[in-house]
Symmetry: C2
Subunit: 665 residues, 2 copies
């Protein structure tokens, strides 16, 4: 834009990620706010439109932007279709409004405005050239009044200030000064469970009720009510494909498996097939589709684990040796992290000449499972495959199936995790698993919820996974499990647990210096006693119900921390845009001792609820369903971890009127 | 970059402003740090080069970037030429280094590495294809050793790990994986006084020694030693052009001037000429050039005020009526801010059809004065002319004269001020003039010194101007003037005062509710008594000398505030990159009362000076030339504003050795 006559400048249009290189994420039915800085020289009034359209539309829709403050303009609209939207901004000098405002000031100061009337008429005549018939007639009528020296000035002023006239003039931007922002930006509209979801991970082969039997999809169907009753809406299964035999791992990740050892589900592919096949002991494709169907009836989506790697027995190895790296000795390169060797795993060679065919095949894996009805995928170790490959693949899938969800299982360096999310992954694993102290939780969550991170990176918090039994859980007993559950489920709108190990409080590591589970399900079948007395199943059910009933907990970017003068107590709040739902959480991070503190309520909450800080209001504690009256900003909290390590308050307005004097709305 | 086989990602290359739309600013001889986030999938080692060139060069220079931490890479180089530099980044998978590192780990773990030797030889052979003769021979020699099964493995390992080999291999990037950042970014190298300058503003017509006589350039020459002695290096003169008579303003901005009233220098143009002419009473063009010459001999540059507006008597009005807006009644549109009228000023119409000729003419105004030897311009109200016009004009001037400096006199809304700076203005007026409390100084300066603001917006702090006698100065007496001087001169590397009003402590406003000076020099000639007893000239001289002697004060982005448990006391430090110069300032912002506090020294300073916090070190107070021993982090400060409202400490290392046991270096 080198035309020096163009006086309007449009800057910092948001949401915007890396100069528009990636779309910003939002969810279906969300109202998206588009903002821009718009300036020009001098005092002229400006006007601006948001231009937006859905993917595939060629025409822009326009919507006027409003000036808020400090040259910041905003427009908002509801995203009612999945997939990509495009938007940009245009702005111009609003000569009519500038003229109208100056005219009024001059007239009120008693100045002669007859020349201004002629100038105004010229502006109207200019607009009339492009105007629709109806507007043109209005403009013509006003022009005649403005130009008529014989009329009293009061009448001409009335005509000039007429609201209908302003409305008509706003429709015809001044083409001379109009500029468009130099980029078209994108928003990707995700399904609502992309932002708010509650995951349960489970090994199907451990789902059998009879000891020693290999569990299958029918057992999973039996297990569904158990999972639904706890309030989970995504059931995530480790890979369901045939498992390789060559270099199969035995219990506790030992090098050599016995003949009956089932192997790791992530060693994918055997003579029965590869990524599009089902491990025979789990059942048939029809069984799987039945599981999908039965789960959906209970409000549960099945998430498949897609791990793009092969056991040496995978059919690809014979059929497409060109997809793997050949070593000079003719062998295929296995995975390694020198000096460690993972001989049971062959990684794909994404730099091979056959990469175009390879990536089409991998895309077809997703298409295959989507055709069976799967919408949610947990992608294993995406950071060990090229980042641009994922961007391509997810883009392709989402073009056809915008309702799909991709969770990136990448516990890797921060910038790589962010880039995976920018490139299309819907949700991401995080470092929450290892964040236990107040300062580190506050620091990490502040990073995750700041702009523009929340525009592309949506966390999914896991207190445990089959690979990770964090030291905190090893050492903190039942209070630790309850605490981590509450933190995961209230800090992040998406979270998940690996069960039944989690609800049963399994906390034994393979060795004292490791985070691996003892007798991990990754390498053997486990018999679970779901009704063991130590289960925290009722607690999980409670937290998930609180999440469902409180929209404030169904997003993550609204998180705010509040100061508490005790390092062991974490305090934060979340509320909905309209403040109709306000949640305040206080958690004792010390699983061993009772801790107490004075919690200072944030002024935003006080202002929006009690109205002023001297008026008492009600705090509804949702875990124990207790109600408290809080009378001032400062309130005493005492949390005994053996009883309950945290409190989740819903802040309720205090209402006082003749009609409902002792109710709280 | 849609090639999914390209595994390397380059992000966030900085300095970068608005996606590369504007160059980042640096000064001559500065070492610029270029940083980038560079990642790829998996564990492969990466390598990266910075590519850079000076304006006009077609070939890139390359410089290896180093990995610092967290996937952040950096390279730095010295900017030894004024004008534009371009830079970008390229990165690739360093297959040799990946192989070398894996080889070593496997060898140390006792694994057989004979296949690895063949793989290494293949990498060397690949590089040898592009290698220069000398390198090719080295590679060939190493290939033979690597491939030689008859040699002991130890010898082959030695060949593989050879440092000379690594050096040679680093020269030949792997073309298959190489990616370039998708943008070329720019740096504008400014002269050193763009960043570090000390301005003195003065009305030449008030420079005469005899009462009643109109001062002139010869008087200015007489005044030069006075200015130089105080330590100023830029003498800024309000417009020196003929002044219009039509609607000329009288003393104190009254509507009608008497026949002897000189008028405002900003009402530019009369029958004697316009923007390229000199007001006859100031002298001739030769006098002006003499002033330039004599000033430069004293290390002072003359800054001209360029105000692009015309009095009704300006020759342009008759010669180029098409450059002004004609009203329907045939008159020319004067400046207005309804209902206020400024009938003595005609703004240019930058939207006129004749704008191309108008802007060329305005460019020629700068060229004209540059031809006379002027290098520094203070531009009046740039925010009332199109922002893209300035970008074009400054770009044109800087192409030919990269040593020029443009100071934007824009006291307008923040985003407009920033945009003027991005578009080319070297320095900018700021809101410092009205920032008096600790929180507002800290907040404002934190904004000005954060990234990327310091890459484009270089503040020039003015405690007063002919237009602004801030209320703080009206009410705070001599301590207030000294305080504002110290703050301006230490917070910002560029600052200026409007004198002699400032050094003489002139503090009478035209009325109690205004910031205008009583009997302002803008509308009348003032007789100054430079030797009046109240002058703070010695103080100014002292501060300017401290600035000259301490490189830490010659930049602004290095500012850091430190907590002090008293609202009236502000504490901040600045140090050079190499920590050879460390300045700590403590200022009492209350001009009326003595204030005291415990100042906590920042750990960075303690760490770099005394070595540990229990070792005493010396604080050299530079205003009073006193030395103190501080023994711990916490130190007591007491500031009586009547004596001295601030202290400027140079932190000196404590050195202890036999040779110089009682010296401080």
């Amino acid at each position: 834009m080198k035309d020096t006559k163009k006086r309007v400048i449009i800057e910092r249009v948001i949401p915007q990620i890396d100069g528009g290189r990636f779309p910003a994420k939002r969810v279906l039915e969300e109202t998206v706010k588009i903002e821009a800085d718009i300036i020009a020289d001098g005092h002229d009034h400006l006007a601006a439109d948001l231009l937006y359209r859905k993917g595939g539309e060629s025409e822009w829709r326009t919507m006027p932007m409003l000036l808020l403050v400090n040259d910041l303009w905003r427009a908002e609209f509801v995203l009612n279709t999945l997939g990509l939207y495009e938007f940009t901004v245009r702005a111009w000098i609003d000569r009519f409004d500038t003229w109208r405002s100056g005219l009024l000031k001059k007239y009120e100061a008693g100045q002669n405005v007859s020349v201004e009337m002629v100038e105004g008429a010229q502006l109207l005549a200019q607009a009339a050239q492009d105007a629709a018939e109806r507007d043109r007639m209005l403009l013509q009528e006003k022009i005649e009044i403005l130009e008529n020296d014989d009329l009293p000035m009061l009448n001409r002023m009335e005509a000039a200030l007429d609201g209908e006239l302003s409305g008509a003039m706003r429709k015809y931007p001044d083409g001379f000064s109009l500029v468009e922002y130099d980029r078209v930006l994108q928003i990707r509209v995700e399904p609502q469970n992309a932002l708010f979801s509650t995951w349960y991970e489970m090994f199907p082969r451990s789902a059998a009720d009879e000891p020693g039997r290999h569990g299958n999809f029918k057992d999973c169907i039996e297990r569904l009510p158990y999972i639904a009753e706890m309030g989970f809406d995504i059931l995530y299964l480790p890979p369901i494909h045939p498992i390789g035999k060559t270099f199969r791992k035995g219990p506790n990740n030992t090098a050599a498996a016995g003949p009956d050892d089932p192997g790791s589900p992530w060693a994918i592919g055997g003579e029965e097939g590869g990524h599009k096949a089902i491990h025979p002991e789990l059942g048939t494709l029809e069984d799987f589709r039945d599981l999908l169907h039965q789960a959906r009836n209970l409000g549960i989506e099945i998430a498949l684990d897609i791990a793009f790697q092969c056991s040496p027995d995978h059919p690809y190895v014979k059929e497409h040796p060109e997809w793997f790296k050949q070593r000079p000795d003719g062998t295929i390169q296995y995975a390694e992290n020198p000096p460690k060797k993972y001989q049971d795993i062959y990684p794909f060679d994404f730099e091979s000449e056959a990469e175009p065919a390879l990536k089409e095949e991998l895309l077809s894996v997703f298409r295959y499972w989507i055709d069976q009805g799967v919408k949610v995928f947990r992608v294993d170790n995406p950071h060990t495959k090229p980042l641009r490959f994922w961007e391509w693949l997810i883009g392709k899938v989402k073009e056809e199936f915008p309702e799909t969800i991709f969770l990136a299982e990448a516990f890797t360096r921060p910038k790589t995790m962010y880039r995976l999310a920018k490139g299309g992954f819907t949700q991401s694993y995080t470092y929450f698993t290892w964040r236990n102290l107040k300062w580190e939780i506050e620091q990490y969550l502040t990073e995750l919820t700041r702009d523009p991170v929340q525009d592309f990176f949506w966390p999914n918090f896991w207190p445990n996974t089959p690979d990770i039994l964090p030291e905190f859980l090893q050492m903190s007993g039942r209070p630790g499990f309850v605490l981590r559950l509450i933190l995961a489920g209230t800090l992040s709108s998406s979270y998940g647990i690996y069960g039944p190990a989690f609800e049963l409080g399994v906390n034994a590591p393979r060795a004292s210096n490791t985070e691996e589970y003892l007798d991990s399900e990754k390498y053997q079948i486990t018999q679970w006693d779901l009704n063991a007395p130590q289960t925290i199943r009722p607690m999980i059910k409670r937290i998930n119900r609180i999440r469902k009933e409180n929209p404030a907990l169904q997003q993550t970017r609204n998180l705010m921390f509040h100061p508490v003068d005790r390092e062991e107590i974490l305090c934060f709040s979340k509320y909905t845009d309209d403040m109709s739902n306000i949640i305040l959480v206080a958690a004792n991070l010390d699983p061993h001792h009772t801790q107490s503190a004075w919690v200072k309520l944030p002024p935003e909450i006080i202002g929006k609820t009690a109205g002023n800080q001297h008026q008492p209001f009600q705090m509804h504690e949702l875990i124990g369903d207790a109600r408290y009256l809080w009378h001032s900003e400062q309130n005493y909290i005492e949390l005994n971890p053996q009883v309950m390590p945290a409190q989740i308050f819903r802040v309720r307005r205090r209402v006082r009127s003749e009609n409902d004097f002792d109710y709280f709305m």
